[in-house]
Amino acid sequence: MLEIRFHGRGGQGTVVLTTLLAHSFFQAGYQVQSFPLFGVERRGAPVEAFLRLDRKKILARTNITTPDHVVIQDQTLLKNIDVTKGLKPGGWVLINGSAPPSDTSRFERQKVATVDASRIAIRHGLGSRTQPIVNTAMMGAFARMMEMPPMEAIIAAIREEVPAEPERNIAAAEDAYREIQFL
């Protein structure tokens, strides 16, 4: 079983990101379970969401405290959130940012990838310039980093589950798939 934690800010679509990935992995033949950190979310405040993947029925009904990988939708969270808390050694850290983090010493036991999902979202007119909706771009980067699920499953999930502008969201996911950078 794989356990993945997602960090974002209220209003950035972090819960939707995990849900869309759950749809994608389910299409690709996985059992899935996704849920938000059970809190009282406010716009702009740090939020967390979680995804479990397995080939068999998922029985765990507990919080995820030792994730295999983490995804960070907002680089500013690196300042005050312990994003690697409980993260297993050797796991991936995917960061939405215009440049790799200046200090990577906190990730020395992990593998780091970055993608400028905000710029990609703005390029495709998703959200506003100040508040781009980055989650579908993050899906594409995630699929490339993890080498799963296949992009067809990502595209199918966006087409079925994203009510507004599915084609632009798919284009954002495809751009992020190409533009992700591995440190």
């Binding site: 995990t18 849900t19 759950a22 749809h23 389910f26 059992q31 899935v32 379970q33 996704s34 849920f35 938000p36 059970f38 009282v40 998922i58 029985l59 765990a60 009904r61 507990t62 919080n63």
Partner: protein, 389 residues
Amino acid sequence: MKRVLEGSHAVAEAVRLAHVAVVSAYPITPQTHIVEIISDYCAKGMMNARFIRVESEHSCLAALIGAQSTGVRTFTATSSQGLALMHELLHWTSAARLPIVMAEVNRALAPGWNIWADQTDSLSQRDTGWIQFYCEDSQEVFDTTLQAYRLSEWVNLPAMVVLDAFLLSHTYEPVDVPEQEEVDRFLPPYVPKFHLDTENPYTLSSLVNPSAYMEMRYDIAKDMDAARERFRDVEEEFETVFNRHYGAIEAICCADAEIILVTSGTVTSTARLLLEDLRKRGEKVGVLKIKMFRPFPVDAVRRVLQSTKKVAVIDRNVSFGAGGIFAQEIRAALCNLPLHPPVFGYIAGLGGRDITIAVLEDVYRKTKSSDHPPEESTWMGLQEVQCET
């Protein structure tokens, strides 16, 4: 077809497919998603139902009592304070013999304000005459909602389908949502045994003298008892159509178990994981899942537990002065057997605190290492709290 759905959405799908005619609800976290989706279905014409908005949960159930009395299928959903506010009318619903179905999302009661999973809200309504089912995953939530209508309408008593806050209500997982034709094969249109009719006017729920009141109560008691048997029939019919089956209880590896953990709700799933692990290490452990809480499946529980050595009940609830509520029911079920195992009561996970595999393993170890249960329930994982005086 299997789809990835939020638990709340699974409830809403079942209500849509059940051809419910009147829905009323007042929003309260973490139940709100259920009625949001249903209200959307009504607005879009995907459900041919009247959605009655109300100013409180008390009015909500009052509205449904009126609606159901005219002979139509109804639904509501609530949580915690909302359910507590319905209390007076919960009694009314069952005594008026109205088969109303409710989704109840288990949430802690205030103060302190807490929106997370805790069973005390629904369990404190155990004497109101409602059938109660506790669900383990979203598929079971969906299936049980359909089963609840069938059973409820059969015995003319209301039913609560209970699901854990967030752990089910806000969690997405695959759920098999059948086609309308399949649901129609299992759940026929509602035919009320009595209803208000302007062509044939009469009064319902009027004054009853001591000469008849007791008999009316006895009728309710008999039909509540009959619901145990009827539920078996409902499940048989359900299995014919959907090829799934739950049982009022489920005994997992209990035949040779020396210690049996008794669970309800989502804790059962986590206990299944622990069970796999402990069995591999040679521990003789079993899990007894309680799905049906009212009527309490006394005989079935006795059959599973009578020959084991120790019983450990995990309660995500508390009745102050009497301990965990499932533990009380299990003790009551066993006490008249000539020989029965000791029952250890554990309180865990109140107000949404995580019940991890480690917590459950600790329950198992504590039970294994003590010869006699303590007088009082054992509270799991209590921390030192500094109080300002």
